[in-house]
Point group: D2
Chain length 257, copies 4
């Protein structure tokens, strides 16, 4: 096969008595799991269970560190210092690595969550703090980032491997950023359309923007599926079949990057 791509999803975001997501279903279909680490979501028992579930389905595991804000689910920007961001990422990634170790697994990647991901995509200070944390823990860890983002460039400059993500069901602005969920047409619901865009992104490295122009994203390594939508499981099934038909091999990014 000529093309290969990874499918990732944010999982393990339940917390105590609170359940969120379709982890048990989604885990059957993805190749990389971004696992919450207790700062924006999750708790030690949810983390242990999510690592076990990933192991069962042979899904590669990565840390999904966020701002220390359970009440805001890590979606509210916080003005942390570089030192605080770096240490928060070490803490969360170290904690998840502990659970991986108890199951004989090693982490494949780190993907920042929510507001921290968005900030790192465009702010060099935040990106550097995250890359410093990840590299100092393990220089073999892959960093997930939007293609051509500040985070992607910062990680590459530090000789870290970067997995460029494509958001399968989200509309893109001309500057490669995602159209805000608050705006109309920000999210695609037609799975045929989503598949078509995904195949194009993976095979040609391009996407059609919200104003109908085609822009270059470059090489795409991983497709992000949001697990909190009710239709996520159905969508990922459609994607898997469509990608296979298009001769695109679906594998964990760590095996081919």
């Amino acid at each position: 096969m000529k093309y290969r791509v990874d499918i990732n999803s944010d999982l393990g975001e339940s917390f105590g008595a609170y359940t969120i997501g379709n982890d048990a279903q989604l885990m059957r279909h993805i190749t990389s799991a971004n696992i919450a680490c207790g700062f924006h979501a999750s708790d030690p028992t949810v983390m242990a269970q999510t690592i076990k579930l990933a192991k069962k389905h042979r899904v590669a595991v990565g840390a999904h560190p966020g701002y220390p804000d359970l009440a805001g689910f890590g979606r509210r920007e916080m003005k942390l210092t570089s030192e605080e961001i770096e240490n928060s990422v070490v803490y969360q990634t170290g904690a998840l690595a502990g659970f991986a170790k108890t199951e004989g697994l090693a982490l494949q990647h780190v993907k920042p969550h929510g507001a921290l991901y968005n900030k790192a995509a465009e702010d060099e200070q935040t990106a550097k703090a995250i890359v410093n944390a990840v590299k100092s823990l393990d220089p073999n860890l892959i960093i997930f980032a939007p293609p051509n983002s500040v985070l992607a460039k910062t990680a590459a400059d530090r000789k870290m491997r970067v997995a460029a993500e494509f958001f399968a069901d989200r509309a893109y602005n001309p500057d490669q950023s995602l159209v805000s969920r608050a705006k109309p047409n920000a999210i695609f619901h037609d799975s045929k359309k989503i598949l078509e865009r995904t195949v194009k992104a993976v095979t040609e490295g391009v996407v059609e923007t919200i104003d109908n122009k085609t822009i270059k994203l470059g090489k795409i390594h991983s497709i992000c599926i949001h697990g909190d939508t009710p239709s996520a499981v159905k969508l990922v099934e459609t994607l898997r079949k469509g990608l296979a038909k298009a001769k695109i091999e679906i594998k964990a990014v760590g095996t081919f990057i």
Copy 2:
């Protein structure tokens, strides 16, 4: 030299704007640091700084996991399930191991904190959960415990190395438990007396109880110094000199256990 002993202290218990303890001073005199992991005290930046300080002074580092209770400083018992205790210890120890790794260090030991330590000393379910966590992370980690306690026995049964602790400035009950701080004469303040008791504990494995009987503790591997008392630094200096004079070598427990 015939006798060897470790000196340990609980450090890294500051939190955000809140400072506690005399870490910079104490770190010069101890051989093992029990470092708080963010559940009963500390935060990611304090953890990073404490690991760096320990490295500078070549002090062996260990995790000091507690109940998830910052407001209670881990001193209030919480009825967690075995699974919750085990996963809490994996989480906290994993997080600290991450900071150690960024400095090229490995953890030497795990010592539960406060109410979790007291519970594990006498409750088998709690002790098992802690030992399971530590062993599944790294079977070479040493577990600190009161001599002859349920925690010590449980760890030994699971073939883990156990460092038996002596509390230098605390009075003992006939059943080897510590006299409650709320009671009179629970704490020794005379450093000459404390030294004398310590030497006896290390060389003979005995201690005089609060009712003036001598009881057998058995082999002592480490002396615990409380860092939150103002006189802690002075006491540890006195102890070091006195132990040296008594031909007792002071070394990190991982080097001789």
Copy 3:
């Protein structure tokens, strides 16, 4: 009508991105809402919304304070001092009273949550701390408690009004305590049976225990419906109809106690 009874339910237990319960549905059918206050569940915005929802449906509002343990949903006992319990109840009740005030409402009652409720039912120190807190805030507040419990007696001794609760769908032990959910037959699912037991409790003050004996509960003021079960809405509809047919008037407890 000869008999009157209140129907209460625990509501407002969502938290940030996490949703729990069927508040919008249940609020249409109950007369008293026990509203979580941010310690075991909820956050300021959920509290504001829940107060507004109660106002819309003219449901009487009360504070539902719990242990400070979001990760454990207040279901894990914590060894707090009397002073800590008292102050925790003042804090949580005061916070909810603030939201009530912004909507022109006043609190009707306080019902402790989960492990704190269970502890107060049998432990005098805990019961006293709660009653002290509630009385010092407002001696007109009603305290919800199991009939004949330590909490009920302690509140009555302090001249506070007590609403004795009947748990409609739970099996009772011969000592009036509830059969643990972990045991078989602890929960009734047959709504006809539940209604029959409820009518008997309200009109005769008795309940049949799990071993088929009839025990005296005494006067029942309120029926507790658990909102987190999927069938809660259906059950409360059945209960309302059945109680009406049995000539039992359903009113907020503050109107008739």
Copy 4:
């Protein structure tokens, strides 16, 4: 006497085992206490104790609400929605009002803390959210704000009473903002100089800026003393004597605004 002024300080910022500030000393000299409410600092027991201490010294009490960020002491800006800010202020102020009520006191004022105060001073959305919260709780509450700030104007527009604050030991920029603590000469240490500036601010409504120009602040109602500096107690003593000598009466702002 012709001039009157209030002296306020941030108190009650200890948390669990962590102690901060000189509350017992400062409370003897100030007229208004801004009491932390558990989000950026404090806990229910510290709040209860601080209210009692204020009552003992007949100091007027106010809420000092902050961002929900204990680890950052409320000094890190967080992107909360208007609704979240409003509800956070209702929650915190309501909780403190509860403790005041148990001691027979009523709140005099609300002063936002740290990053929330700074944000409200210049951001209308934040200022509106805070004013909405305070007004909906009690339209008689006084709002503390920098003179001429967005918060001061927003509160005045809503017909709320505003206490304009002067920061006695801080250097001012030409635009009336405070010189960042990170810059040289940001803080005055000479108590004679501080007194002189304070008298001028109170009697003439002006201050000399860091570049030696005199700017108009307008009427000053309260002088803010930072309690976390070791010299705070000494400074407030000097200020009190000097203000008395200058015929400026020192009274809680609620008595004369």
